[in-house]
């Protein structure tokens, strides 16, 4: 695992950074989601401008076999455009909230991308051949005069420069009154769920004109609303199981075999509150911003404002592991509430073997926790440490009065630089970290 010491520890080093270097960041360029596909060959990002950029992993060069290959742009397309809801006189943001890949079944790649209201299924396919010698039309495409055609010729496929085309294959619209926060592809590869603040819908990938509402927590009287859905995910292996988290720090696991409407959960996960750490902001910081099943399907991980918790699906009354991401912020909650940072939604992710987890923090810091050794490390995504193959230096935030050299004090943290979105390659130790408008790719240096 990542460590400062040598030996057999992995060392994270800089690989690439994508995005402009400008100090003035255009709002549209802010990355809003990052996701590797199932093989890790492709890495997709979505931004606030509604664009999707897909990077492809190039094979290692023979000259530098000790380094994995790089990710280069494979396809860029405009997934969502700003829309206007005439019924409510509201503009619908084009920001991509989530991207989820479908398992690859043929040469083409498919992904789901969603903004606040509409989910789209995109097909990304390659074209590297072109037909030439059409019988009925000229090379420039004009239709030939039929009387001039005196012989029959069969078109021949000729190689051409690789072209990657993205085309929308399905548009799943008008199913969500509230803002979509999650989409998750089911293990049956036929259905997927989408969740907004109050409802969760189940879709079939082939059917766009209807979906099944499976969870509805909207109260009959909206005065009684005190809790919203914050994230949802399908179980990686059991296609009848999914979980959803709430703004009150609870997770509900539902079994779709039990009832058509899964308002009654099968399991309810909640950690009792520690009365000694109670504050005015206890509920806000308990709000879960992300929930992810482990690859094994035996655990799930939740991210709240200050910590990451790993839950065993067989134990509902408390998590099996809790990792403090930035406990030094606990005494600053009042200020963080004032400047709205307390509402930031951080994501979290597992590595391929479920032995490590990663999540973001402020000041472009991100944290990794090794579940076996219980070691943790704080790294920074910055241009300063962006020299090729440069090893990342662990960072430390000083909480006491005395600040050691190379430490940064809590008051000096830049709360505008937040790492909300991270992704870990499903097989290798390669990570993608979104820092505002830049995408950093780090990999381990195999000793």
């Amino acid at each position: 695992f990542a460590g400062v010491a040598g030996g057999n520890d992995f060392q994270w080093c800089f690989s690439q950074v994508k995005g402009a270097i400008d100090e003035d960041v255009a709002e549209a360029d802010i990355i809003s989601t990052v996701e590797f596909n199932y093989s890790g060959e492709l890495l997709a990002t979505g931004d606030k401008g509604g664009r999707v950029v897909i990077f492809q992993h190039e094979q290692e060069s023979k000259n530098r076999p000790h380094l994995r290959g790089e990710y280069n742009v494979y396809s860029t397309f405009q997934s969502h455009e700003p829309e206007f809801d005439y019924l409510k006189s509201l503009e619908i943001e084009e920001k991509i909230n989530k991207i989820r890949w479908l398992p690859q079944q043929n040469a083409a790649h498919f992904l789901l991308s969603t903004n606040d209201k509409t989910i789209k299924l995109w097909k990304i396919s390659e074209r590297d051949k072109r037909a030439e010698g059409y019988n009925l039309k000229d090379e420039d495409g004009r239709v030939r005069d039929p009387f001039r055609i005196t012989s029959l010729r069969v078109p021949v496929l000729m190689p051409m420069d690789l072209m990657v085309e993205a085309s929308p294959r399905r548009i799943f619209a008008n199913a969500h009154t509230y803002h979509i926060n999650s989409i998750s592809v089911n293990s049956d590869h036929e259905t997927y769920l989408s969740a907004d603040d109050l409802r969760i819908n189940l879709w079939h990938l082939e059917i766009t004109d209807r979906s099944f509402n499976i969870v509805d927590i909207k109260p009959a009287n909206m005065e009684e609303l005190t809790e919203v859905i914050t994230a949802a995910e399908c179980h990686p292996h059991q296609c009848n199981v999914f979980v959803y988290s709430s703004s009150k720090g609870t997770i509900r696991l539902c079994d779709m075999r039990e009832a058509a409407l899964c308002d009654r959960h099968s399991k309810f996960f909640e950690e009792p509150e520690d009365p000694s750490s109670r504050s005015f902001f206890s509920e806000i910081i308990s709000s879960i911003s992300d929930v992810k099943f482990s690859h094994s399907g035996r655990y799930m991980m939740t991210r709240d404002y200050l910590s990451v918790k790993v839950w065993d699906l067989n134990m509902e009354n408390r998590p099996v592991e809790t990792y403090q991401v930035h406990e030094y912020l606990r005494s600053k909650l009042c200020s963080l509430y004032e400047n709205d940072c307390i509402f930031d939604k951080f994501e979290c992710c597992w590595n391929g073997s479920d032995s490590a987890i990663m999540t973001g923090s402020y000041n472009n810091f991100f944290r990794m926790f090794d579940r076996n050794t219980r070691r943790d490390i704080t790294l920074e995504a910055s241009r300063e440490s962006s020299k090729p193959r440069a090893t990342l230096k662990p960072r430390k935030v000083s909480t006491g009065g005395k600040r050691k050299k190379d430490e940064i004090s809590v008051d000096s943290l830049d709360f505008n630089k937040k790492i909300l979105h991270t992704a870990w390659h499903p097989k290798d130790n390669v990570i993608a970290v979104a820092a505002t408008n830049n995408l950093y790719i780090f990999q381990d240096k195999i000793n």
Partner: protein, 303 residues
């Protein structure tokens, strides 16, 4: 807190409730309350505030209100507040104080927005005015202020025009048919808020007259997901829409899209409302709609 380019030393903040009931705790509570109020007000100015954020702020306000009432001052006993419906009734009695409390909260918190350490001065109360009124009445006013905010939060029309403040906690399809005791208090001068779709057990609408109640009764039977927006656009209670305005803003009922709890509906071209899904309003037909439309026009012109 540190935003880009700024360096500031902050005093140690201690927000644990270990000292619950003490003066420090009380000042913290009032500071957080005023900040919450300010946040809520500002979020209402957004065309579509985040539901999660609004719910969390509202819950925080509720919690502070309850805790404030749970820690009565020595000189006066304030009973523990009942659940939200009770809060709304109490708020009715405190109407005269509410507006001032809210305004003071806004002005105080706006002035001290950047400071966490000087929250002693952020009391949203008229502390300096009447010494006798201080502790107990401040609690009552706090509760009243929260209740009024929560009422406005809950009763705002969905889909008001961008210029009118909107609450995220109203529903497109919340058409409860029975009276449930919720009281709709209308904050004076607030556009788009004056019609409540929460049933009134006792119509105590402060700024409403018979017009509001009648309109509300009318809306019980109609699929109003579009009408709610339009009433906000027209500024019902705050403006004087003409019949032509009403006709212009109200599209044909057959084009209304209702979003019921079931999810079958047709796909749309972007931005175009779909044909109406079978719902309660489609059966009676055009004549009923026309009659209701006439009624509506009458009431709006009168108000």
């Amino acid at each position: 807190m540190i935003l880009k380019g700024q360096k500031r030393k902050l005093p140690q903040e201690d927000l644990e409730l270990a000292d619950s009931g003490g003066p420090v705790w009380e000042s913290q509570r009032q500071f957080v309350f005023s900040v919450s109020l300010n946040k809520y007000q500002r979020s209402q100015e957004l065309p579509e505030p985040s539901l999660r954020r609004s719910v969390l702020i509202a819950n925080t306000l509720r919690q502070m209100s309850l805790e404030g009432c749970r820690e009565p001052p020595a000189d006066m006993e304030v009973p523990e507040p009942p659940p939200p419906a009770g809060l709304l009734h109490r708020e009715q009695e405190c109407c005269p104080h509410t507006a001032s409390a809210v305004d003071k909260a806004e002005s105080c918190s706006a002035a001290d927005h950047a400071s966490c350490s000087s929250r002693e001065s952020n009391f949203p109360m008229s502390v300096e005015e009447d010494e006798d009124w201080e502790s107990a009445d401040s609690d009552v006013s706090l509760s009243a202020a929260i209740s009024s905010i929560l009422t406005v939060l809950d009763s705002t029309i969905d889909g008001s025009s961008p210029t009118a403040p909107r609450s995220p906690l109203r529903s497109l399809e919340n058409l409860s048919g029975s009276s449930e005791g919720g009281v709709a208090w209308v904050k004076p001068g607030v556009r788009g808020h004056s019609v409540s779709y929460q049933q009134q057990a006792e119509p105590k609408a402060r700024d409403g007259g018979p017009g509001d109640v009648t309109v509300e009764d009318l809306f019980q039977d109609i699929d109003t997901c579009l009408l709610e927006r339009d009433m906000g656009v027209l500024g019902l209670g705050g403006g004087h829409p003409t019949g032509e305005d009403l006709l212009r803003y109200l599209p044909p009922f057959s084009n209304l899209k209702c979003l019921p709890s079931f999810s079958s509906f047709s796909p749309l071209p972007a931005g175009f409302p779909p044909p109406a899904v079978p719902s309660s309003m489609s059966a009676p037909g055009q004549s009923r709609e026309a009659f209701e439309l006439d009624n509506l026009m009458e009431i709006l012109v009168e108000s």
